[in-house]
């Protein structure tokens, strides 16, 4: 009983800690123009590669740009990319999954297409999409979204397949309830818990994938600073000026950590099976 109690606290603190850190990061990102007086794109060759100091809190990069300023502005873009990717991937994946799971004749073809998409390595697909259609915020988001869609769709379809056999759904079908109503009233609510958990993981992986794209030269251009492209630009001078990588890297790690903690906490509280087991 005591172990159970302790576990419950731990769960809640997970949500609390994760959510708290994320909120803090969000506030910092939004306050970027207040927290730094520099322009993130301002080039000053005279101040290249200066170590952290009172003037440049996190030092400067190869072009003499202030790393602190870029990290702050980068937070806006990185968090935006991550949130957008999660939101879009989940809405599209959810729609596809619901349709495929519920409408039987569509299941085969839709899921084969999803399998095909899933069979292409996500990173490669994203690189191809970005380098082929140009590195803008929109293309980068689309490129990270596409490989995530089949995963969400599969998850949702799985839930739908198991729910639709439940007696109350069969009863609703028997009563002649229209399909959209069944989908929205009975099936959709059951997908929410796993989707929220999935969503947090997508958030985390989106930030990392964006960093990887920048590393490979297929990320956002330097005028739009993101943690990913700050790190990628600084990688060539890692041993000489490690601060260019370590500060945004630290922020990146903190964010992913927070998102993961939040996701774990949510899973433990939301997953009904988990609840059942703990209650038993």
């Amino acid at each position: 009983m005591r172990a159970l109690f302790r576990h419950a606290i731990f769960r809640n603190t997970s949500v609390l800690i994760g959510g708290g850190i994320l909120l803090l990061l969000l506030i910092i990102a939004l306050l970027a123009p207040v927290l730094s007086q520099f322009d993130p794109g301002q080039i000053a060759p005279r101040f290249r590669l200066k170590p952290p100091s009172g003037e440049f809190l996190m030092g400067t990069d190869m072009l003499g740009r202030d790393v602190w300023t870029r990290v702050l502005h980068g937070a806006q873009v990185s968090l935006l990319v991550s949130a957008c990717v999660a939101a879009i991937a989940i809405s599209i994946g959810l729609t596809i999954g619901l349709v495929a799971g519920y409408i039987r004749w569509l299941d085969g073809p839709v899921m084969r297409a999803m399998d095909g998409l899933m069979a292409i390595p996500g990173i490669l697909l994203a690189i191809a999409l970005v380098s082929l259609s140009g590195a803008t915020l929109v293309t980068v988001i689309v490129a990270i979204v596409i490989p995530e869609i089949p995963r969400v769709a599969r998850l949702v379809r799985g839930v739908v397949l198991s729910i639709r056999e439940e007696p109350y759904v069969e009863a609703a079908i028997g009563l002649g309830t229209p399909t959209p109503k069944i989908l929205i009233q009975h099936i959709l609510p059951n997908t929410i818990a796993p989707l929220i958990v999935q969503g947090t993981y997508i958030c985390a992986s989106a930030i990392l994938v964006e960093a990887i794209l920048s590393f490979l030269g297929a990320g956002l251009p330097p005028e739009i600073p993101t943690w990913g492209n700050i790190i990628a630009e600084g990688r060539g001078v890692f041993q000489r000026a490690p601060w260019i990588i370590l500060f945004p890297g630290g922020f990146l790690a903190c964010t992913i950590l927070a998102v993961n903690i939040l996701g774990d906490g949510l899973r433990d509280t939301l997953d009904p099976r988990m609840k059942k087991r703990l209650g038993a």
């Binding site: 084969r112 399998d115 095909g116 082929l132 259609s133 990688r235």
Partner: protein, 313 residues
């Protein structure tokens, strides 16, 4: 079993078809022109046009697709636009480092992660559990290339234990092979250790709550026997499935590690091909990757049946 395998292989054909068409269209509809790349900096428009015609890039897309699909049906992946080498030959040259790295990473990750996951589940909620899980979350949070640089800095530059870069084939001897692949493996396996440990922990927790485990305890069997003989065996299905998916991800995901450690693998081959618009290579490698993915999924299904006789297809 044979029927399962056959039916799965047949089902793979439309999947591969989807991949082939998707990739082909994606490439042809995009900007960038291999002819311009081939011709270089001082090229004149006439020269670029001549090269385009020579490569067949001036013909309609559907015609190009039919040509390619026809070659493909005969098992011919075509030739690289830039180097004129057969794509199959180029993949052959570059596949060994990638497979080696993927396998060593997988092996190392499983060896480390499964015990960690078991211990975490066994001492669930204890400080070991939390410590291990926190560490595994850290594993998710560090970009692979940052980790690679840090490891090179300490293990190669400061401690002088491993070489910085390069790949040695197993045929050159076990020691040179291990020496070169150790750091890349360590770098790449970090995130997989995190992933596998979490899945093992979750699967074990599920199983540990079952009645037969209690029965086993009641019979007075010692802790390790219960954990390994009874629990792990039943928890194996989800673990195997994640390892399989992990392998598929690895094959596509080694590209960063290959770049940092200068390993001449397939990942770099395809990324460089994308940047140079070398269409036949991109098409060939992505088809290969998706083929591997399909085969691994098949292998997972077979493993399911072997591991858990209750599962039927």
């Amino acid at each position: 079993m044979l029927r399962l395998i056959l039916s799965r292989l047949v089902a793979a054909i439309p999947v591969m078809g989807v991949v082939a068409i998707f990739v082909f269209l994606l490439l042809r509809l995009s900007p960038g022109d291999p002819a311009a790349i081939l011709a270089g900096d001082a090229a004149t428009p006439e020269m670029i046009a001549a090269i385009r015609a020579d490569l067949g890039l001036d013909r309609p897309i559907w015609e190009q697709f039919i040509t390619w699909a026809g070659q493909l049906a005969q098992g011919d992946l075509g030739k690289s636009v830039l180097s004129k080498q057969p794509v199959a030959h180029m993949i052959g040259q570059r596949i060994e480092p990638t497979i080696s790295l993927a396998l060593t990473t997988l092996l190392f990750a499983v060896i480390v992660a499964v015990p960690i996951g078991i211990i975490a589940a066994w001492k669930q909620g204890g400080w070991i559990d939390r410590g291990i899980m926190a560490l595994s979350v850290v594993g998710f949070s560090i970009p692979v290339f940052v980790l690679g640089y840090i490891l090179i800095y300490f293990f190669s530059m400061k401690l002088d234990i491993f070489p910085v870069q390069g790949f040695a084939s197993l045929s050159e001897g076990l020691l040179p092979f291990l020496e070169r692949i150790a750091l890349p493996t360590l770098t790449l396996s970090f995130i997989y250790i995190a992933l596998f440990a979490r899945i093992t922990r979750a699967a074990m927790l599920e199983v540990l709550g079952e009645d037969y485990i209690r029965t086993a305890h009641a019979k007075g069997l010692n802790e390790s026997t219960v954990l390994v003989r009874h629990a792990l065996r039943n928890a194996a299905v989800p673990i195997v499935s994640v390892i399989g998916i992990g392998f598929a991800l690895l094959i596509g995901g080694v590209v960063i590690t290959e770049t940092v450690f200068n390993i001449p693998g397939v990942g770099r081959l395809v990324v460089e091909a994308v940047l140079a618009r070398d269409y036949p290579i991109i098409q060939g490698v992505i088809l290969l990757f998706s083929g591997v993915y399909v085969l691994i999924n098949l292998a997972i299904d077979v493993a399911y049946v072997l591991l858990d006789p209750r599962i039927r297809y």
